[in-house]
């Protein structure tokens, strides 16, 4: 497996010098995200997030399974993340690296453990049948900020997803196809957004949405997950540079603003997509009418 090249001495000292003067290589201000592009697939529950050159795809799918015996009233929600060679040739398929473990834990804590998805609403028959919601995260291109991008992708895909409707008559459970009955959206309790900060020059400089090159040179990083109401879900800081409380508070304030902005973009794109779908469905219906006539 080819090893990833480390940044050269020149790149390292130049980037740090520039940061000292509050300059970033791509010309952004220190606390500015790259342009966020979000698009949805034809299917429900497919979200494609681009953050600069980083591209992450999240796909949500559902199937009916038996619930865990210790949690008979709850559905199952899993998130899988795997860094494959598509993100970078240096990633080997099938072997988990430390980076990958950290990444999947972070996403897990940010979305699943923060109860973004109401798992109780996924129960069909207690102890017998429930929905298993699966979110597969695919990293298509890696230029830093994988945590932030995949979190956006997953929450967008969850909100976009529709599961087939279910009706229960006595013991009999009927799962209606998408054409039979209008599929139902998932019950989302809140929308967590991750904002990762990278620290340089002993904490003097902190960046949001670092590129791959910037990530390679950072002394430490910290991810704050919160929703637009300012409810903090997690602060994750796995080692690295020690930072003082004032910086942490400043980061949290920035994170709140960013989370609001990002959640608004996601919301806007969801509405735009819904509008397009309604228009298309109406068109299809009118077509079908004509054929019948």
């Amino acid at each position: 497996m080819p090893r990833e090249l480390d940044p050269t001495i020149n790149e390292k000292s130049f980037i740090l010098d520039a940061l000292n003067q509050k300059l970033r290589i791509d010309g952004r201000d220190l606390d500015v995200f790259r342009e966020l592009e979000l698009s949805f697939g034809d299917d429900y529950g497919l979200a494609d997030v681009r953050l600069g050159k980083t591209r992450v795809l999240a796909r949500v799918s559902a199937e009916v399974v038996k619930p865990f015996t210790d949690r008979p009233f709850e559905g199952i929600f899993t998130i899988t993340t795997e860094l494959g060679p598509m993100a970078s040739p240096a990633f080997e398929p099938g072997r988990q690296t430390e980076q990958e473990v950290l990444l999947s834990r972070l996403i897990e804590k940010a979305i699943r453990r923060s109860n973004a998805l109401d798992t109780e609403s996924l129960c069909i028959v207690a102890g017998q049948k429930c929905w298993q919601i699966r979110a597969d995260v695919h990293f298509l291109s890696h230029d830093g900020a994988l945590v932030d991008a995949s979190c956006i992708a997953v929450v967008a895909a969850l909100q976009h997803f529709r599961r087939p409707d279910v009706s229960i008559e006595g013991e009999k459970v009927t799962i209606h196809t998408m054409t039979e009955r209008v599929p139902v959206p998932l019950s989302i309790l809140h929308v967590p957004i991750c904002v990762t900060f990278s620290f340089y020059l002993d904490g003097e400089v902190c960046l949001v949405d670092a590129t791959l090159q910037e990530e390679q040179l950072r002394q430490g990083d910290m991810t704050i997950t919160l929703n637009k109401f300012g409810e903090l879900c997690q602060i994750a800081k796995a080692g690295g540079l020690a930072i003082n409380a004032l910086i942490l508070l400043r980061c949290a304030k920035i994170a709140l603003v960013k989370a609001g902005e990002i959640a608004a973009i996601v919301q806007r794109r969801l509405e735009e997509d819904a509008a397009v779908r309604v228009r298309r469905d109406n068109l299809l219906e009118s077509k079908a009418d004509n054929e019948r006539a």
Binding site: P2, L46, P85, D136, L140
Partner: protein, 205 residues
């Protein structure tokens, strides 16, 4: 950032292929006189299963003869195919519709990456008249020409069939497949021309 990539949508199927190479190869996979070809297919939902492995094997038999591997010995060509969306409903021939699109997108990505190739392949999925058989045809869309008689020559180089069919059905399907392949081939050539046009745009005043 990959060395070459292509995204292809055919009806309900969307695939993304990326190519890296020639790059450093793991000592275990090193071949003294040839480049090693690594093909990975990743499903859109769930983990890699037998289905993807089967598709990998079929895809390998279609594209590996296209790649001239002796030019870069002891290196690695890494082909990764991500299924972004694919119609799950008609499960009967799902693998075959996927295979046809996979060949097209991988060939385009290989051309984009500038991997040395013996030719370009266009592929099409054809369903038998009663829906019981599925065929994938691959036609070489470039080649021939030169001294022998000018103009690119086409030729059937890849067939993968499944289901019940007789000789007549196969011949009929292959005729449909040929037409489809040539259509797809023209599209593919158009995309490559577009790409090269973009690369050479600097020449305009």
């Amino acid at each position: 950032m990959a060395d070459g990539s292509a995204q292809y949508t055919d009806g309900p199927t969307t695939l993304l292929a990326s190519i890296n190479g020639p790059i450093e190869v793991k000592p275990r996979d090193e071949i003294p006189l040839e480049a090693f070809l690594e093909i990975t297919i990743r499903p859109s939902a769930g983990v890699t299963s037998v289905r993807e492995k089967h598709l990998e094997a079929l895809l390998r038999s279609a594209v590996s003869p296209l790649i001239i591997r002796t030019i870069n010995p002891r290196t690695l060509f890494q082909i990764t195919l991500q299924i972004i969306q694919h119609e799950q409903v008609s499960a009967a021939h799902a693998l075959h519709t996927l295979l046809a699109s996979a060949i097209v997108v991988v060939v385009l990505a290989l051309v984009d990456a500038g991997v040395p190739m013996k030719g370009m392949l266009a592929a099409a999925f054809v369903e038998g008249a009663d829906g019981s058989a599925a065929h994938v045809f691959g036609y070489a869309i470039t080649g021939g020409g030169g001294r022998e008689g000018g103009g690119p020559k086409e030729g059937l180089v890849f067939v993968e069939s499944d289901g019940v069919f007789d000789e007549k059905g196969f011949v009929e399907a292959s005729e449909v497949g040929r037409k489809k392949c040539l259509e797809v081939g023209e599209l593919m050539k158009g995309w490559v021309r577009e790409k090269i046009g973009r690369d050479m745009k600097y020449r305009l005043k």
